[in-house]
Amino acid sequence: MKATTPGQDLLRGIWRENPVLIQLLGLCPTLAVTNTVANGIAMGLATFFVLLGSSLLVSLLKRLIPNEVRISAYILIIATFVTLADMLLQAIVPDIHKALGAFIALIVVNCMILGRQEAFASKRPVGRSVLDAVGTGIGFMITLLLMSAPRELLGNGTLLGHPVMGTHFEPWIIMILPAGGFFTLGAILLVYSWWKARSEEDVRPRQWPHGVLPGKAA
């Protein structure tokens, strides 16, 4: 495995190894709570908080945690941060907490978070682990925004609760139902893969017919 620079640690989660778009982790909250942008942002922030706190602690304590009980210890750390996030959201933004419902508590079993602990934070210095958590958290947030903006816009005619589609717009209710989540995720993954495949093709030299570029023709 190649060595990485701090910049790569930060950027990897945001785009090239985006937790949802590439690793396809954390799909449950991605599909379930993205029917409004506000919910998406709150879920993104809560996950970011849990991920950052867990990566920091796991990385700090990695030498104190015996190998045999490491998964239990990670889950304990993650669950603590999730409980804190749950209570903080309920105290600070009760309406959003109500809208997110059980999905806050379910951050505990978001494999994106446990995955970062086992694959990265438990083997790396603290600084790198924090960078990795920040990158992954931002990548998750970006995906939630990509999901929730079109769903709220088409399904409800609003953005962040403000009507933007005019009075004659008939909301596509299916977009805020679970099926709309799958449609949106499918469309985003399609565009993302297409874009990725295309940018990889660009690296190869073009094969011009009839020797337009001398020396490069097949």
Binding site: R63, I65, L76, T80, M87, P94, K123
Partner: protein, 231 residues
């Protein structure tokens, strides 16, 4: 510290990302002690945040309930909290009981001190999850004053109209009980009819059933209660 061969103590960035660390043989008490200490610390942290958050959460719940009471009783001048103790309503919780665990109803008064009606909470399963609501009930005339949904996870765009559809919500101001749900246009103008929502039949029925069931349980108590304390 590093004697137990945990590969997690590597410092360099050139360690493999995948692949678990090599197994080691930490003694069992160390495993238990680690988890026990971690659990204890986690508990302390949670208790600390809970101490800070709980009053705020309760204050917000009380605020939401107060607003709902004012809504279903159409802005009463004031309201009393009454406790359901056995088969009577009392202003003070009976001695030896925990007020928080008692069922409560709220009696609103108008500006002249005359009772307007009771605000009663009810909850039963709807289409997806439990619907919890508050309704206003005028015991003297046996009719409803209003209804507001406190919590529901009904289908967005369909079932959640029980919260947002003002025609449906306003239909609960005035009808006599027990309520009868009718399809829009199918009613005969009887005083106990409530129009249901097209596309949200199960959710509408659930709301009507919650109110009817609650009044069946608690209606006699409400009708028998006289705020002055006399008969």
């Amino acid at each position: 510290m590093s004697a137990h061969g945990d590969s997690g103590n590597g410092r360099g960035p050139d360690l493999p990302i995948a692949g678990g660390p090599a197994p080691n043989d930490a003694p069992a008490f160390r495993l238990i002690a680690t988890l026990a200490v971690a659990g204890g610390l986690a508990g302390l942290l949670i208790v600390a945040v809970f101490q800070w958050a709980q009053p705020r959460i309760l204050a917000h719940q009380a605020l939401v309930l107060g607003q709902a009471i004012e809504e279903v009783l159409s802005d009463p001048a004031r309201y009393d909290t009454l406790y359901v103790a056995g088969d009577a309503l009392t202003k003070e919780p009976p001695a030896g009981t925990n007020p928080a665990s008692l069922e409560k109803v709220y009696l609103g008064y108008d500006g002249e001190g005359a009772p307007v009606g009771f605000a009663v909470q009810g909850a039963e399963p709807g289409f997806q999850d439990v619907i919890s609501l508050l309704f206003g009930y005028d015991a003297a005339n046996n009719r409803l004053l209003g209804m507001t949904v406190m919590e529901a996870k009904e289908t967005p765009g369909l079932g959640d109209k029980i919260i947002k559809d003002s025609a449906f919500v306003n239909g609960f101001a005035g009808p006599t009980t027990p309520l009868v749900g009718v399809k829009i246009g199918a009613g005969k103008g009887a005083p106990d009819e409530v129009d249901m929502i097209t596309g949200a039949t199960i959710s509408s029925r659930a709301v009507i059933k919650i109110i009817n069931d609650r009044l069946e349980q608690i209606g006699p108590l409400l009708r028998a209660y006289h705020p002055g304390g006399g008969s």
